[in-house]
Symmetry: C2
Subunit: 364 residues, 2 copies
């Protein structure tokens, strides 16, 4: 069970890379070696993941003759800042890491985003491998090459598009994931169903209990289908000129929640769930989504233990925070809305009044 | 005189861009407008350049209907750090700059490198125009897309390859350049002759007095031929896998001087001049360069008022600093040496003893 290894290719020309999905992959150094430029690596992880998986990984690399340093960062979105990023640079420079040394991100989305940005910018670009250890990072941040840190005035405001050479999604690491984080990851899984894959949405409806019970086969399938959906979107639109923006369903509202509450108070997936409900409420208000459809989505988030209401910040404050989002063009909010389950659209025509009404309907 | 406008194209496929060279270009807003994504720009400059040229530029842009903010940074290599970079991010976020707002670098190499890095990383990539106002930045840092900031453990250690959409080299700005900086710029001009253009080297020998007297025609020619040489190299090898490394003649030694003395004590061009003499001394020691050739080079640097000896840091300290350089591969120093004027080679086989001897012969 969970022994089968699934491999997806992210088709990005000379920056194409494989995503390998399966259980127990972390401890097989031979899986990584072909993707190292030289047998030198720096593993970046955090204080939560290090005691669980760091030795397993570095021993596996050492067994293949890879010389390996490690950096252990404080855990959490609140540390996704310049000061913490600088700990990676300090370690790289302190250990005389070269431009050919591979950075390996071992952890969730924060570790992946920060390690990726460090790799993108260390000596103008060092090779990079991602080993996401949370459901959220396995289905979302490990695909597509978005790297970033936060700025006090906005989330992910400083970053780069930079592709890894390899992603290893070891389903085994999900066994140690706290319940709250597993649920937060499911928000992004549900999102893929909502924006472009109605059959997957139905599959999640049928298999949510198995996913919550951490059935390895169900998890591996959810990761694979999520990654395949994201990989298809990213391959078609790497730098988010068009379709890729649909992956941001619920994210503009969600970022407002995350920023408004202070980074790390709401998990990203929790904010996306509540933000998605706001986007759906706006879609319904525009006459694009039926009561039945919005109820199915809200019910699925609720069954997954996710919030379906946002915090009360005041609609004006939401708007102000949303205007700081990267998805703004010429002052006009560019929102991802639905015209049915599985059919996302990019919409720039919503009035402040419409947006505020949708927000107010979804806060408590 | 100096009225003719010269245009070079840097051939980088979908990232190709023009370099426009001439006098008085800064105050013609219509030259920039076709290269702006929207009519919104943030000009980044420093306390030295702002009083001279900032109003000229922003007035010219305003006359074309471009809405324009500006950020004035402290001047100097010692400010090429994260703290100062953050002033750019603060200004961008504070003025709600969008992903489509163009960053315009108005200043020397430090302003260009920092603004370019801010553009490369602001919201994962904003458009960028360079208006270099020093000879060094016109002939060197404005061509090729290298952007960076310094880290306490190494120069330019954090950065990205990121191409501008347009470079405007306004020869008129060289009229206000301090003598010391004009000379520092000549070090890089001479470098192009040394590494790949013996005819240009001879032209510099004949026209050095005109260049030092700031004759606009001579300066425009020197900028044009330098940029053309660099553009050819960069087009062939954008990310420095091979030939591009030859542009670093004198730079590994030079970086050791800059870092060893503290950023900003030696100007970059001064360190490159002394570093180049060390590289030539090593080339001579290996039997690749004649006494006549090295004397011609040393005499030209001296006539240009540039140092031909490095500071006494101790050869071991030089080596240690040089090993922190990005051009190190597997612990082996990769140096650019000459096999004659106009013929640079990449050499990884020099022993520590040979390198130390060359350094010691060139310090005082």
């Amino acid at each position: 069970m969970g022994e089968a290894v699934r491999v997806l290719e992210v088709a990005l020309g000379d920056r194409a890379y494989p995503i390998v999905i399966g259980a127990g992959l972390l401890s097989v150094g031979a899986r990584l070696v072909p993707y190292l430029k030289r047998k030198k690596a720096v593993v970046v992880t955090n204080t939560t993941v290090a005691p669980l998986y760091l030795d397993l990984l570095t021993d596996a690399l050492a067994a293949e003759g890879v010389s390996c340093e490690s950096v252990v960062l404080p855990d959490g979105e609140s540390h996704k800042d310049w000061q913490t990023l600088n700990l990676i640079y300090d370690a790289l420079l302190g250990s005389h890491a070269e431009r050919s040394t591979t950075l390996i991100a071992l952890g969730g989305g924060v570790i992946g985003d920060m390690t990726g940005f460090a790799a993108a910018t260390y000596q103008r670009g060092a090779p990079f491998i991602q080993i996401p250890t949370t459901l959220l990072s396995q289905v979302d941040s490990s695909v597509g090459g978005k790297t970033a840190i936060n700025h006090p005035l906005g989330k992910n405001m400083i970053g780069a598009f930079y592709q890894p050479r390899l992603v290893i999604a070891d389903i085994g690491t999900l066994a140690t994931l706290p319940d709250r984080e597993l649920k937060a990851g499911l928000a992004e899984v549900i999102k893929y169903g909502l924006i472009r894959d109605p059959a997957f949405f139905e599959w999640i409806e049928r298999h949510l209990d198995a996913l919550l019970a951490r059935d390895p086969e169900a998890l591996a399938h959810a990761v694979e289908v999520s990654c395949r959906n994201k990989a298809e979107v990213v391959a078609a639109d790497e730098t988010e000129q068009g379709e890729r923006a649909t992956l941001n369903l619920g994210h503009t509202f969600g970022h407002a929640i995350e920023t408004g509450m202070g980074y790390g108070v709401w998990l990203h997936g929790e904010a996306v769930a509540a933000g998605t409900v706001m986007a759906l409420a706006l879609s319904k208000r525009l006459g694009w989504l039926s009561d039945v459809e919005i109820d199915r989505a809200v019910r699925l988030f609720a069954r997954a233990g996710l919030p379906t209401k946002g915090p009360v910040l005041g609609a004006q404050r939401y708007l102000e925070l949303m205007r700081h989002d990267k998805k703004v063009a010429d002052g006009q909010l560019r929102l991802i809305l639905l015209k049915g389950i599985g059919r996302a659209v990019i919409h720039s025509g919503a009035t402040d009044g419409e947006v505020c009404a949708a927000i107010e309907a979804c806060c408590e």
